[in-house]
């Protein structure tokens, strides 16, 4: 047992050396955990923020001007006032996701109680933005109209004071979310590709054959790869969280960092093992590339780190529950954003551990069957 651990450690040192010997790999890892995180965190907005809207004002009244000027930062950029003929081109080109059309005599009809219609055109292809943005504009228009009319005839207040408070991220700032999730997504990409390709490389170069005649078991070879690549990636991602996300982007992380590290290690074991498992299904690097790509993309987009799990049909949620990413994303969100303790996330951790062991076991069976066999 002790000597087995010792051999795993020695093999891991070899893996570290292989990793460090490739400056391109290190360069990409650096990019992924620094520049890419900043790019995605600052560049990507799922919430309505600084959306570009346009107004077609055919009324030119005080009310229409009030509506126009009420589309304000941070939700909207100052609205462009455009002619009716520009609506189509503006929306076709994707320049405007929202165009509000205020018809002639809008103000006077409203004052006269004729219930005029105002139209909000929404580019429905801008999925994340369209639905929520439309509701915001609707709200703004109604509020402005109501306050304008109230001033005109002195109406009373709303019957209910509805207070919606967002916990954990009061301003629903998406940078908080995307920054950390980008780190997690990149961890998954790196783990699968690094460990998987490390195994394929050993196979293509014949070194695996050499290992198998030495007093080293396949399990030890696997664990060494998992340990070495996992350790590098965990360390890099923690650094990224601390330096890039926390200090660089100034994003508060409320939860327990040690707890998060423990969870990350569990996660790392299962994704690196997944990389190895995929590698046992491929014989060459080009095959591995093509096989791992769809897997990575599915983990990236459907684990709840990009779009909410609640948007997926239940069969897909069921399938995704077997992937480590789904549980780690849930774990990370609970720990990092909501400050959850072990008592609240032990279930996710347990599931992660079970998935990790299951993938490892499967991998070991495949390994024995395929790696030592002749091509």
């Amino acid at each position: 047992m002790v000597s087995s651990l010792w051999r795993i450690f020695r093999l891991s040192v070899k893996e570290f050396r292989s990793l460090l010997a490739d400056p391109v790999l290190l360069g990409i890892m650096f990019y992924v955990f620094t520049v890419a995180v900043v790019q995605v965190a600052t560049g990507l907005k799922f919430e309505v923020e600084s959306a570009q809207a346009a107004i077609v004002d055919e009324d030119h009244s005080e009310l229409s001007r009030r509506i126009t000027s009420a589309l304000l930062p941070p939700l909207f950029k100052t609205a462009d006032v455009i002619a009716p003929s520009e609506i189509d081109s503006g929306m076709d080109s994707g320049r405007y996701v929202f165009v509000v059309e205020i018809p002639p005599k809008f103000e006077s009809d409203a004052l006269a109680g004729k219930t005029p219609s105002i139209q909000i055109n929404v580019d429905a292809t801008a999925m994340a933005l369209a639905g929520n943005g439309a509701v915001y504009i609707q709200e703004i228009v109604l509020r402005e109209t109501a306050s304008f009319l109230r001033r005109a005839d002195g109406d009373s207040a709303a019957p209910v004071d509805l207070v919606v408070r967002s916990k954990f991220n009061p301003n629903l700032n998406s940078m908080w979310f995307t920054a950390v999730m980008e780190v997690i997504n990149n961890v998954a990409i790196l783990s699968v590709i690094l460990t998987g390709s490390a195994l394929i490389r050993e196979r293509e170069h014949g070194t695996i054959e050499h290992l198998l005649v030495m007093p080293v078991t396949p399990l030890e070879i696997m664990l060494a790869k998992i340990f070495a690549n996992g350790a590098v990636i965990v360390a890099a991602s923690m650094l990224s969280l601390q330096v890039v996300v926390r200090w660089g982007l100034g994003i508060p992380i409320v939860g327990s960092v040690p707890l998060f590290i423990v969870g990350s290690i569990l996660f790392m074991i299962s994704v690196t093992a997944l990389g190895l498992l995929l590698a046992t299904f491929a014989r060459t690097m080009p095959q591995f590339g093509l096989l791992s790509l769809p897997v990575i993309i599915i983990l990236y987009l459907l684990s709840g780190s990009t779009t909410p799990l609640e948007t997926m049909p239940s069969w897909l949620q069921f399938v995704m529950a077997f992937t480590p990413n789904t549980h780690f994303v849930a774990f990370a969100q609970a720990v990092l954003y909501r400050g959850a303790g072990v008592d609240m996330v032990w279930r996710e951790m347990l599931i992660l551990a079970v998935i990790g062991v299951a993938i490892l076991a499967l991998c070991r069976t495949r390994f024995a069957k395929t790696i030592s066999a002749q091509d």
Binding site: G43, I120, T207, P215, P286
Partner: protein, 902 residues
């Protein structure tokens, strides 16, 4: 006498190693020129410089009457030089058949179909390969591979044939046939010059002119007889050693084999050992017993089953039938104790090329758990014993074959095993190093009682074995002491004996004397700067390779389809079934009415009530609940009294998009509820003074698939085509077939485009499948210009395959290329191209990233043509941009790829 090539003051440095040190030499024309010398003295470098495949660092090289530093001259004479690199069939394509390999080379040299056909027929007939034109090159034996390699080199009738250790690792019979073939070819084409690097001195004897190298310097040159006369030695071997500086030959003496003191019992026993791969029987009921301490030699032609037998004895392969015994015990592959007793060296290089020589040794010492401080001393001892001190901190990939073999040997004996199984350990090793290695083996056997099981192609090595076994076609023909075998056949020496055994087994009938090449040389095409035929040769070959790689083909089609189906059904922005709970402290009619609106909504799904503020925190923290509605006591009363009571809703904001969506749902619910309240309380005033009509353009039903499917097609066509091409060039670099690009007239553009073209076609077919799925299965109409969509996809695929080619051209390892392509394509395609988040709401930085890659531009075409109903003219600018991306990437790739090795 004129010279075919000459070097003047050439110095080549690799790191700090001087491969060539101020070399000046002229190679005579029309001769058979041999370069002899130990490993790593610069033979390969010299040949590579003459062939024009390596860049000249300093000094001047001329060949065929021109300066090899001049790319114009190199291009002009590429068709007159043939270069066969070191290594068994390294420039062949393993999945292509014998005929197809030759056909490919013929096309590279611009030969027409009839000419190729005729030449291939002649070459195959004269090399004895004619019975197997359809056998994949990867399944040929080592000797046949070398013959095929030679055929490939000869297909264009070169004036200068350069062979780098062509017979290393080739069995004696094949070797003899190989040189006979060369002689016949030279007889037909007397003007042809042949330059050969070799470690076999007996081969060098038959050459016209020799240059002996040592330490990057020429230490002697002239005809073999002249060299012998100069040094007053009888054999070339001895002459070479006499030419060496005194310190290098100091320890050289003849190898002596003391008699064997037979040990107790058997170390290795094979009983009816059989191994089948499918229908092919590689090893057929093999029996032998090897005594402890014996040196047991294994001889046989290439591909006769020697390596397979050895693998079964190490446990790497499970026998199909029969059994292997090690020290009387049945071999258990999983038994660690057995592995410690065995040292194994495989035929190919199987150590870590990313670790230094010393690190490789240390790693093995550690894995075998050699105790300290002995381990460090042992590593030192091995470095000294195998003469690796000088290269201890270099990486094996930069070392010549012979030195790498020595390292492998050092690793195999490092842990002092009781049994050594060595598969052609001295292949490619120079005579001096071989002798010192044998002294070591003999010492191990005679002094330490180590049993040695060794396969070899060298007869002088076989003679040093206690017993040898001759193997052919999976069967053992004879087992006995070498002298006894020679006596039994009544031949002069072991080589004759061996050949007679093989010929007795029906192998090696001399091929019929080939007729002279009749077809005239097609020289015209060689100087053309761009030749579509060469491009086609590469495209055709690449296409054949992918068509034969079933698994890759399946992944290439199934992967995209899986993604489209998964995301088509999986991604949407309709957030539903959000888990919520209520804390209704009022429990009045009014509060229940309000809550019914939540309960009745498909967006929400109710969980058990919360009762305290701390419970709200806890259940939101675990992620169990996404929102909590809290209604204070007295809500109903205050509402009726018009006091505007406060309702609090707590949202889990951890995922902002979800949080925002919940907020907008709540806004909707509260408006409905308010309207209801107004109606119920009989208020005649309309709930709202105006009507807000929200019109979802392009997608009235606001169904996710209308924007997701075009986006997913964008995503797939970014990732998969670039991944398909990303490994193309870099793989050739790793495998070695890049040598063909370097040594033939093919240009960078032809090579890259040829490698890219099949994947453009493949990806376009894949696009067709995705389109059919989108139209038929998802029922998505193309509302806009279908022409723009199809053209756009073509240009986009061109751009993304070019991106992959670009990575492949400038990176050095497959791992790096795979990694770079995945990261660089995934990040912009997923985030900054409008797949999930509209480009309009990206920050300036994000927008710029999106614009810097083709994916964002195609997304506009995809969405525009599918959903927005845009016409061709509106999408035309994007088409041009995509085309520009493709051209730009391709240009960069051409610039990044070097025709010569550094």
């Amino acid at each position: 006498m004129s010279d075919v090539a000459a070097l003047a003051n050439v110095t080549q440095l690799y790191g700090t190693t001087r491969a060539l040190d101020d070399v000046t030499i002229a190679l005579p024309e029309g001769k058979m020129i041999g370069l002899i010398g130990p490993d790593g003295v610069g033979k390969s470098t010299l040949l590579a410089l003459v062939a024009g495949v390596r860049r000249i660092q300093s000094g001047g090289v001329t060949a065929l009457g021109g300066d090899m530093a001049d790319s114009g001259h190199r291009a002009a004479c590429a068709a007159r030089i043939a270069y066969m690199p070191q290594g068994l069939g390294r420039n062949l394509y393993p999945t292509l058949s014998v005929f197809e390999n030759l056909d490919f080379f013929g096309r590279l040299f611009g030969q027409g179909a009839a000419e190729r056909e005729a030449r291939i027929k002649e070459l195959l007939a004269s090399t004895g390969l004619d019975p197997f034109p359809d056998r994949p090159a990867g399944q040929l034996s080592g000797g046949m591979k070398q013959k095929l390699s030679l055929c490939c080199a000869l297909i264009h009738d070169p004036d200068l044939l350069i062979l780098d250790e062509p017979t290393t690792g080739v069995d004696p019979l094949s070797r003899r046939q190989f040189w006979d073939l060369i002689d016949r070819i030279r007889a037909r084409r007397p003007g042809m010059s042949v330059a050969v690097a070799t470690a076999y001195m007996e081969e060098a004897e038959r050459f016209d002119w020799l240059a002996a190298l040592d330490g990057g310097k020429i230490i002697g040159s002239g005809a073999p007889a002249d060299l012998r006369a100069l040094t007053r030695e009888k054999s070339l071997d001895a002459a070479f050693i006499a030419l060496l500086p005194p310190e290098a030959r100091a320890d050289h003496s003849a190898v002596v084999l003391p008699p064997l003191v037979e040990g107790e019992g058997y170390a290795i026993e094979a009983e009816n050992l059989t191994c089948r791969f499918g229908k092919f029987t590689a090893v057929d009921h093999v029996n032998f017993r090897i005594r402890r301490g014996e040196i047991f030699g294994f001889l046989g032609s290439n591909g006769c089953g020697k390596s397979t037998t050895m693998k079964m004895l190490t446990g790497l392969l499970a026998p199909t039938e029969g059994e292997a015994l090690l020290f009387g015990q049945r071999l258990d592959a999983g038994d660690m104790a057995t592995r410690r007793r065995v040292g194994y060296m495989s035929q190919g290089f199987s150590l870590y090329s990313e670790l230094t020589v010393r690190q490789n040794l240390v790693l093995h010492a550690q894995l075998f758990e050699l105790p300290e401080p002995g381990a460090t001393a042992r590593v030192k001892e091995m470095l000294a014993r195998f003469d690796l001190d000088g290269v201890a901190d270099q990486k094996p990939e930069s070392l010549p074959l012979g030195i790498r073999q020595r390292l492998q040997l050092a690793v195999a004996v490092l842990h002092k095993p009781e049994v050594l199984i060595l598969d052609e350990p001295t292949s490619g090793v120079d005579p001096i190093a071989r002798d010192s290695f044998w002294r070591l083996l003999i010492a191990l056997s005679r002094e330490d009682g180590v049993t040695i099981f060794i396969s070899t192609h060298f007869m002088n090595e076989a003679e040093r074995c206690d017993r040898i076994s001759l193997m052919h076609a999976g069967k053992v023909l004879a087992v006995d002491a070498p002298a006894a075998l020679v006596a039994a056949r009544g031949k002069a020496d072991l080589e004759q004996t061996f050949i007679s055994y093989l010929e007795g087994a029906g192998e090696g009938a001399e091929p019929a004397e080939a007729v002279g090449f009749s077809a005239p040389r097609a020289a015209a095409s060689a100087v053309r700067r761009f030749d579509p035929a060469r491009l086609w040769a590469y495209a055709r070959r690449e296409a054949m390779e992918i068509l034969r790689d079933r698994l890759r083909l399946i992944f290439a089609f199934v992967g995209p389809l899986t993604l489209l189906l998964t995301f088509g059904y999986g991604i949407s922005f309709d957030v539903e079934n959000l888990a919520y709970a209520v804390n209704d402290q009022d429990n009045s009619l009014e509060s229940r009415e309000l809550l019914e609106n939540f309960a009745g909504s498909r967006y929400f799904s109710q969980k058990s009530d919360v009762t305290s503020a701390s419970e709200i925190d806890r259940r939101l923290s675990t992620g169990e609940l996404k929102l909590v509605v809290e209604i204070p006591a007295g809500f109903g009363r205050d509402l009726v009294a018009g006091k505007g009571p406060r309702v609090a809703v707590w949202i889990d904001g951890a995922m902002p998009f979800r949080g925002e969506t919940i907020r907008s749902y709540i806004t909707g619910i509260s408006q409905t509820w308010l309207a209801e309240q107004h109606r119920r309380r009989g208020l005649t005033v309309a709930a709202s003074p105006i009507n807000v009509e929200t019109r979802f353009r392009y997608n009235q039903a606001f169904k996710s698939i209308y924007s997701i499917i075009p986006g997913v097609i964008m995503l797939i066509l970014m990732l998969v085509p670039s991944m398909l091409t990303a490994l193309g060039v870099v793989r050739e670099k790793e495998v070695g077939s890049i040598a063909n690009f370097r040594s033939t007239p093919v240009t960078r553009v032809e090579f890259l485009l040829g490698k890219q073209a099949p994947y453009i076609v493949l990806s376009f077919v894949s696009f067709g499948i995705l389109m059919a799925t989108a139209l038929l299965l998802f029922g998505l109409p193309v509302r806009g210009s279908a022409l723009a969509l199809v053209l756009g996809a073509a240009f986009y695929i061109y751009a993304t395959t070019s991106l992959g080619i670009l990575f492949s051209a400038f990176l050095r390892t497959q791992v790096a290329a795979l990694f770079a392509t995945a990261v660089v394509s995934i990040i912009p395609a997923v985030n900054f191209s409008g797949l999930l988040v509209s480009v309009a709401s990206l920050s300036t930085g994000g927008r710029l990233v999106g614009l810097a890659f083709p994916c964002g531009w195609f997304q506009e075409i995809s969405i525009g043509a599918f959903t927005k109903g845009m016409d061709f003219m509106h999408l035309a600018p994007n088409l041009l941009v995509l085309l520009a991306f493709g051209l730009f990437y391709q240009l960069c790739a051409v610039l990044a790829l070097r025709k010569q090795e550094a």
